[in-house]
Symmetry: C2
Subunit: 350 residues, 2 copies
């Protein structure tokens, strides 16, 4: 019998990191910032008004603030509902060729999802045993390149000259550098967008600016790239950035001091935490993100993950080939990391 | 020469209704509510906190509030970033057959856009000279049906028994009833979702709740439909509803009195305005929306549109076949409509 069910899209539902509702949990599983956002946010709340009207579809105030912060023109900045939205629009806009796009085999899990959603052919390029991207893998002809730097969930990062090398070898396609975690010590490729007209750098408010709850991501690129993205975006959904995002997202950029202070605290905590973790038998590459991706020399990651959860400490475990003995641990406050460390010391000593 | 430009998606950019930035404008061009949202919004601002964390991807609080308001279970409600987002996800989820989906030829301009974006075949069914949907047009085999009720931009509405008749003839595909304007006097089909498992009713906060700036839309349907939409949504973008939307969108539903009061005011203004407009030579079908779609017996719509704009009164004009002699005029406050009426009296008398 014919049924409407026949026409329903079949998907593999994504499982986001758990957002536990119980109290007293130490939450190190979704790479959120342990520090609250700038106080400017509270002050700016009173500026959220006129909600009865549609927001400015171009989110001009926010775009101008981001552009000015980074030293670009407003025509060089695109904003979206989190970097997921920005990346999805970029995929839709730039990857319409017949050749496969390239990205690492271990990387952000949404790349293959968007490629399939938009019918984009793709090839995964294997990172090496240390989870490092091999630049030569990206020299072959392709329909586009996308990689995070630092990579997720591995934390492995590329120096800017390697990023530029990959760009140089791919000047006839768009290269997307997904910099969700760049503010924690890596070198941004944003200046390369001035030199190469095919480079898009994507960043987010969700990590370093402590504003995952607002959903703001953005891309920096040359005007032609940004215009193409805006054309695509307006063509199917004109009003995506709501008024609170525009107002609060603009205000927070004024507090550079607080941004630098919290950023620095996280980096310091990470450096200390890495030393301590190595002492108790964890192995991992140095991270330039707000997380580390670690495996223990003896105790299986899955066991640690489950035991930690029972102890109300949430870290992230991916039950996937090659990485199923690793834990992705967000860098929280020093105190949170001390609690985790105490737990891990005891648990791995058994 | 090969260029990344070869792979850029070609689109026809959508032109949203103008959002004039100058002061003192009477804005009757984007069907916004002339009254501010409920005061509950201001009170709820202080509840927006914890922005550093990702929002609940299921927006549970908001979903529960909407479900409870309408007398449904939370599994029967889907929320999105405005009804545009809800409709796009519904298209993506339910219209994956080979047969064309059906919608009116004069209707919401995003239907063909989404169909093309997702590769969905479609057929437009011509409304009659009075812009009325002909139910028999929807009896043929198809891959799905979608129509707004009241229709946009015409304001023509279908009685509930006609809506049910269309549903009855299409029980093996999903039928989407787009009710963006239903709160201004039409009969909602939401109860039909209990009787027919293939019906999705879409509503929005943007018009009757005076919250276009928040971007909240939702769908009501049986649990299986809603689950399918959530599966698709989570599969490519898990966190779309930001924390301010969840908090404020929940709070506003508590103020039923204000909702009924403003709704009633708009309906009363519309009824009075329709009488006055007919007196000065405008023709249009009775509206059950917060706008009328009118043509003048003598003066071309485009001329009126342009002159009104010069007089700082913005209405909407669509330069498209069949409707290029019509104006879509949002119902504002009584005072705004009086100003417009004075202008129109003078302009059309010349």
């Amino acid at each position: 019998m014919k049924s409407w069910r026949d026409n329903v899209r079949k998907v593999e539902p994504y499982t986001p990191g758990e957002q536990p509702k119980e109290e007293g949990v130490i939450k190190l599983n979704t790479n959120e910032n342990p520090y609250p956002p700038s106080e400017k946010i509270k002050e700016a709340m009173s500026e959220i008004k006129n909600l009865r009207k549609y927001p400015d579809p171009a989110a001009t105030k926010l775009v101008e603030a981001i552009a000015s912060y980074h030293g670009f023109d407003k025509e060089e900045v695109f904003v979206g509902v989190g970097s997921d939205d920005v990346l999805a629009v970029a995929f839709m806009t730039f990857f319409n060729g017949k050749k496969p796009i390239f990205f690492p085999d271990i990387t952000y899990s949404f790349y293959p999802v968007w490629a399939e959603l938009f019918g984009i052919p793709y090839e995964k390029k294997a990172v090496n045993a240390a989870f490092e991207i091999q630049k030569e893998d990206y020299y072959a002809e392709n329909g586009g390149v996308v990689f995070p730097n630092p990579n997720a969930p591995t934390g492995a990062f590329l120096s800017l000259d390697v990023v530029e090398d990959i760009i140089k070898h791919n000047q006839d396609v768009v290269v997307i550098v997904d910099e969700a975690y760049i503010d924690f010590g890596g070198d941004t490729a944003k200046e390369l967008t001035r030199k190469y007209d095919n480079v898009l750098v994507v960043q987010t408010y969700s990590k370093s600016r402590s504003l995952a709850g607002l959903r703001i991501g953005y891309a920096i690129g040359n005007k032609e790239l940004i215009k193409a993205m805006n054309d695509v975006k307006y063509s199917y959904n004109s009003y995506t950035m709501n008024e609170p995002s525009i107002v609060l997202g603009t205000a927070v950029l004024e507090d550079e001091e607080y941004f630098q202070e919290t950023r620095k605290k996280i980096i310091e905590t990470r450096e200390w935490f890495q030393i301590e973790m190595r002492k108790i038998g964890f192995n991992f590459a140095d991270s330039k993100a707000n997380f580390i991706f670690a495996t223990h020399e003896r105790v299986p990651a899955k066991e640690i993950f489950e035991a930690a959860k029972k102890a109300k400490i949430y870290v992230r475990y991916f039950d996937q080939p090659r990485i199923d003995n690793y834990l992705r641990i967000t860098i929280g406050t020093r105190k949170e990391m001390e609690t985790l460390l105490d737990f891990l010391k005891e648990f791995t000593a058994q």
